[in-house]
């Protein structure tokens, strides 16, 4: 044993291409990337864990804890690879998941195709029952009808059943009775009810969420059970926990019951990773920026906590456009995702404008410069032509990039068509993709009532360090941090996540009819549920409880999240709720509106274990000039010209070492571009700080 009594913790992130493993022993980090195994994902995990154990010199039995996040559930939804699922719903509402919002996500396209419902019409069944908007039973459930329907569903051989009834988030008795009837006849059937999976108002979102849960449940149960078995066989003797969409850790058992909560858990890890960096530096307003081969993701991190939402959209089918996917109502770390990555393909439209993405050359055939048959110019090709990438030093020198191929593709697809030279075309591609990303970030901030100017950017992912400094210029952001280990950021993030669970519930009330008893009951229920789940992972230690009421003026359609203290309320607290709302509303929109009643639409409550805060890092000032290993011509977008840029190897830098932009700082996985307006200083914890010359 070489662990010296230190805890050995392993984070495992299964992504589309790679499975990332990060092992932490005390403060030491070991990591690896192995190719994802699509048929048996657990095999890649075992392989990767064995690799890091070998590097670290510890046996698998020394591992104390494995925390796992995966895109498998997301992929199953995108590829529609799930169980044969039936939906039982209220009579009159058979088509809720097919009618969606009755709208087209693209206004000017006559040949638009909407995503098909997860459960087709012949697999959707109805019961003649109805709960009213106050939770009262308007039409009771008929046992004989339920009985007959159960027989029919079991006879038809469905593998999984979703139950979603109107207003069940207020009264779940009908959903429970139908589930009990099914399980009585078929005890092993996989059954999901909407009142448990997603007790939120809005039938389309809730029904779709319970269908998604049912659809992936057998698949995920089988995978997770296999994984636990394989890890034991391989010699581990520790629990496996799962990271969920909201960025907390839950038990495997909870994950098997609510697999829909695993959606987007990988990106959630990235946001926690960034939040941890923000916490170490004491940064209150940060924006994380992750850019890979196909997409870029942006998340707001305030008070060192990633911003969360109660609903999101997965499996977008058209250009990542809002409305082209399916809504899922669960607590989630909120991210904007746009089709902008290293592999994004550039083209010219009929207004002679350069367009970039959302189509991506991916890793196969990849950008033209990979020399694997790609003949379209991509963002990576532009980065190469502009001198941001070194053709001889890509992926640690293991892959030679073909600059001629980039130039050829650029010439054919852009320069000839526009009558411009290749460098200008490459500049256009780079600027357009950076503009797309910064516009998305700015829009996301506006939707949340924020201005990005005061934020610090934290960038990770293969392509982000190449573009982050230019994004900061466009967003008027002064400081940018690029942490070490950014290539396996999500897996490291898993290790920083708390045990925790967020429960949500729609419970409608108006402040003019303030009912302290009802509010206390909601808070108590949510707190019991969230604490229960969190305790499945950690039995000791205090739990932090954070409660949010989603409030708005009566008549509005969008709620403002208002943090509410977890305690018992009295009738007289009406005034304090109103004051809290006014504060939040004013912060969002600049002014309060007099004379209007305020309503609470829903609640959420998060129970989390207390995580050891990261060791504070003081900002390191510049001391010595970094060792410059060479120079190359690199284009600066803000100046609109090529400059001589210093090349510095990141591994040669010591804390306090600095280099003035224009410069490029190279490492095995990526290169960090320091634009001419900025300088870079290596920090004590290995982060690169890139700040405007005035502030660096």
């Amino acid at each position: 044993m070489t662990t010296d009594g230190k805890q050995v913790r392993v984070g495992v992130d299964i992504g589309g291409t790679f499975t990332d493993i990060a092992m932490e022993i005390g403060g030491d980090l070991h990591s690896t990337k192995v190719l994802t195994d699509y048929a048996f994902p657990e095999n890649a995990i075992v392989k990767g864990v064995e690799q890091v154990c070998a590097t670290a010199g510890v046996p698998l039995s020394a591992i104390d804890l494995i925390i796992h996040g995966t895109t498998l559930a997301t992929n199953a939804l995108i590829e529609r690879r799930g169980a044969r699922t039936a939906l039982i719903t209220t009579k009159g509402f058979r088509d809720v998941i097919e009618m969606r919002t009755e709208s087209r996500f693209e206004q000017y396209d006559l040949n638009i195709v909407l995503p098909a419902p997860l459960v087709s019409r012949d697999d959707r069944f109805v019961l003649d029952e109805r709960i009213g908007p106050d939770g009262a039973i308007l039409k009771p459930l008929d046992d004989a009808e339920v009985d007959a329907l159960c027989d029919r569903i079991i006879a038809a051989g469905f593998e999984s059943v979703a139950i979603g009834l109107i207003h069940s988030y207020l009264n779940d008795t009908h959903e429970r009775r139908v589930r009990d009837a099914l399980l009585k006849k078929a005890p092993d059937l996989s059954v999901s009810i909407s009142a448990e999976v997603s007790p939120q108002m809005r039938e389309f979102q809730r029904f779709n969420t319970v269908c998604a849960n049912a659809f992936v449940k057998p698949l995920m149960a089988s995978y997770l059970n296999r994984l636990v078995g394989r890890m034991k066989d391989a010699g581990t003797d520790c629990p496996v926990f799962m990271i969920h969409s909201g960025g907390g850790i839950i038990s495997v058992e909870s994950a098997i019951e609510f697999p829909v909560r695993l959606l987007e858990s990988g990106p959630a890890g990235g946001a926690i990773f960034a939040a941890n960096v923000a916490a170490a530096y004491g940064i209150d307003s940060a924006v994380s920026y992750d850019m890979g081969g196909t997409t870029a993701k942006i998340c707001l991190i305030e008070g060192q906590v990633p911003k969360t939402s109660k609903t999101f959209e997965v499996a977008r089918t058209w250009r990542f456009k809002k409305g082209s996917g399916m809504p899922i109502s669960i607590p989630v770390i909120e991210m904007v995702e746009i089709g902008a990555g290293g592999g994004s393909i550039a083209s010219v439209d009929n207004m002679r404008q350069i367009r970039v993405g959302p189509h991506s050359a991916g890793s196969e055939p990849g950008p033209a410069c990979y020399g694997r048959g790609g003949d379209k110019p991509t963002v990576t090709d532009a980065d190469l032509v502009l001198g941001r990438l070194d053709p001889d030093g890509f992926a640690g020198g293991t892959m030679q990039l073909d600059t001629d191929a980039s130039n050829g593709a650029m010439q054919r697809e852009l320069a000839d068509k526009l009558g411009i030279d290749n460098a200008t075309a490459a500049y256009g591609i780079g600027e357009m993709v950076d503009e797309n990303m910064s516009n998305a970030a700015r829009m996301h901030a506006v939707e949340n009532g924020k201005e990005l100017g005061e934020f610090t950017m934290i960038a990770f992912g293969g392509a982000a360090p190449l573009h982050a400094a230019r994004l900061c210029e466009k967003l008027s952001i002064d400081a940018l941090l690029i942490p070490p280990g950014a290539g396996v950021g999500s897996a490291i993030g898993f290790l920083r996540a708390p045990f925790g669970f967020e429960s949500v519930r729609s419970a409608y009330s108006r402040l003019s009819h303030f009912d302290a008893t009802a509010i206390n009951a909601v808070i108590r229920d949510l707190s019991d549920e969230a604490t229960g789940f969190a305790r499945r992972g950690t039995s000791d230690g205090e739990l932090d409880l954070e409660c949010t009421a989603y409030m708005r003026y009566v008549g509005q359609g969008w709620e403002v999240p208002v943090p509410i203290e977890v305690r018992s309320y009295q009738q007289a607290d009406e005034a304090s709720f109103r004051a809290l709302f006014n504060d939040c509303y004013e912060r969002f929109f600049g002014r309060v509106i007099d004379g209007l009643d305020v309503e609470i639409v829903s609640w959420s409550l998060r129970a989390t274990s207390q995580v050891t805060p990261p060791t504070p890092v003081a900002r390191t000032a510049r001391t010595n000039a970094a060792q410059v290993s060479g120079q190359r011509r690199m284009f600066d977008a803000a100046q609109g010209r090529f400059n001589d840029a210093a090349i510095v190897e990141r591994s040669s830098m010591k804390p306090g070492d600095w280099v003035a932009g224009p410069a490029v700082i190279t490492e095995r996985e990526t290169s960090t571009i320091v634009t001419a307006s900025r300088d870079a200083i290596l920090q004590a914890d290995g982060c690169l700080l890139i700040a405007t010359k005035a502030n660096a």
């Binding site: 040949n111 503009e435 829009m443 969008w558």
Partner: protein
């Protein structure tokens, strides 16, 4: 690399940014609006204009009906107020249907944008407000005077000082005063956001005015649009489409004249105005005609003054698509939404195999007023008065290579609301909202299905509603041998048939049943793929035989 080339790319970047600026402007409005149709259906628009008042960029929002209206609005403001009467801090306002977007419910607010003391351009935005007084939202008025308060072009704020007289007049003439006044302030605030973003952008790109950029955008948009038009077969193409109207049927007649560098859409032959509020001011008809042409010819070119300039629309005086004051216009959307199908019928003659069959077209907006019963039938707790608004969409027409979209809005971009959320607004219960089996027109490609909606007041209440439904007597027609979609039906659950337009009553204990039209089919039904046919039967999309 020369400066000239760089500057071209530079301007492309700035064009992108400018669109982002107006999108931010629109998002701000959606987030703060009280009006259901703004936040749920995107019934709003936002745009930025150059010094002359020509629109440079516009946010893509839920309604095509504002496109041309917005583009022309700022010109009206400059004309009416006078160029030398525009000061920093001013905010202008109107809801003039003929200078705004076709009915009193839409308020347009324009703010001049100053940079270093010089006027450089304008921001404008429009939103549908909750109420404008008068009879309320419905088709029953005989003149626009009955439809509510009319605010001619004037200043809402002078040099930063809000005109409180106007605020007081508004407050006292509309039903939901706080919400309406709140929305007017929101409109002004969203222009302010646009202005602030524009200033950031101009700092970043070191611009002193918008004129160079505007010229670039105008030239690129105009050239691309004209290129698309030049590729079309020249000639004249006509179509006539009959719809229900209010009381008597209405013909929408269209003639397209396709020239080298423009298309003229002439509505000559269209029926005379209606005595009721389904009439369209020309600006609104123009927007929907333009939308249909843009969808068919140049869908990806962003909206601005020059991208819509090559699409010219005219209509004879005294026609229902070009009514004059004081004609009633409150629910002008019904005919406006039907205009694209009439235009697409003519486009089909020019470009066969390119556009869909006719669809349900106009939204079946349902605005119900729920009232407690009186006397000894009154609910014990006194009951609740409430106004409930719901959007419903019928089936869209089949496409040349695809089935039509079921229960999906076209041409409008609205989103429907959650039934659960709507039941919290007032004492109504929806007993049914699902696809209407067998309503899609048969064909090689099937028309989209309509839907069935059943709504009832809760015990002790009754409902009044303003019907504004079409395609009941005249269902959407199929194309190229495809069959017609099913006509709409408006009735009570006891079989009583109701009128398709105007205010009506649903007594306590009864349900209102709306059966929305299906879309027309495309191509002969005997050419339908057997697999698609089998699926239609398995999914019960077609009625079982």
């Amino acid at each position: 690399m020369t400066n000239e080339l760089l500057s071209d790319v530079h301007k492309q970047i700035m064009w992108n940014r400018l669109i982002s600026v107006v999108e931010e402007q629109a998002v701000t409005l959606i987030r703060t609006a009280f009006s259901t149709s703004v936040r749920e259906s995107g019934d709003l628009s936002a745009g930025v204009f150059n010094r002359a008042g020509l629109m440079i960029a516009q946010a893509v929002t839920g309604t095509p009906g504002h496109v041309n209206a917005m583009a022309e609005a700022v010109g009206h403001f400059i004309n009416d107020l006078g160029r030398d009467n525009i000061y920093e801090g001013d905010v202008f306002i109107t809801n003039d249907p003929w200078k705004g977007t076709g009915h009193l419910h839409d308020f347009t607010v324009v703010s001049p944008s100053f940079r270093n003391g010089d006027l450089i351009g304008f921001f404008a935005c429009t939103a549908h407000v909750v109420d404008v007084g008068g009879r309320g939202f419905g088709p029953d008025a005989n003149e626009v005077y009955e439809e509510g308060i009319f605010v001619p072009i004037m200043k809402f704020a002078k040099r930063g000082e809000v005109n409180m007289d106007l605020v007081q007049i508004l407050r006292n003439n509309v039903r939901e005063a706080h919400q309406v006044v709140g929305d007017v302030y929101s409109l002004a605030a969203c222009n302010e956001i646009g202005h602030r973003r524009l200033m950031d952008m101009m700092d970043e790109f070191q611009m002193s005015d918008l004129e160079d950029l505007a010229d670039f955008i105008f030239k690129r948009s105009y050239d691309a649009t004209v290129d698309a038009i030049a590729a079309l077969p020249k000639g004249q193409y006509d179509n006539i489409m009959r719809v229900d109207g209010y009381g008597e049927p209405i013909d929408i007649a269209v003639t397209l004249d396709v020239q080298d560098d423009h298309i003229t859409c002439d509505f000559a032959g269209t029926s005379a105005p209606s005595p009721k509020g389904i009439n369209c001011p020309l600006i609104y008809s123009t927007a929907y005609a333009c939308y249909a042409l843009k969808c068919s010819v140049a869908p990806e070119i962003p909206n601005n003054h020059y991208s819509i300039l090559p699409f010219k629309v005219k209509a004879p005086e005294d026609c229902i698509l070009n009514v004059k004051r004081p004609a009633p216009v409150s629910v002008r959307h019904v005919l406006g939404h039907l205009v694209p199908d009439a235009v697409l019928g003519a486009v089909h003659k020019m470009l066969p195999g390119h556009v869909p069959a006719e669809g349900s077209g106009a939204l079946w907006n349902l605005h119900v007023s729920v009232r407690p019963l009186r006397g000894n039938l009154a609910p014990a707790d006194g009951g609740q008065r409430a106004e409930v608004l719901l959007f419903n969409s019928g089936g869209a027409g089949a496409r040349p290579t695809l089935d039509g979209l079921s229960a999906t809005a076209f041409p409008s971009g609205v989103h429907s609301m959650s039934i659960e959320a709507t039941e919290h607004v007032g004492p109504v219960i929806f007993w049914r909202k699902e696809l209407r089996d067998g309503s899609g027109g048969a064909g090689k490609f099937r028309g989209g299905l309509g839907q069935v909606v059943e709504i009832a007041p809760t015990d002790g209440h009754e409902i009044y509603f303003n019907a504004m439904f079409d395609r009941v007597a005249h269902p959407p027609r199929g194309r190229e041998g495809g069959e017609n979609g099913a006509p709409g039906v408006v009735r009570l659950d006891d079989g009583t048939m109701l009128a398709t337009k105007g205010r009506q009553h649903v007594p306590s204990g009864r349900r209102l049943v709306l059966e929305l039209p299906g879309g027309g089919g495309y191509g002969p039904v005997d050419e339908r793929d057997p697999e698609a046919q089998a699926r239609d039967i398995a999914f019960e999309y077609v009625a079982k035989n």
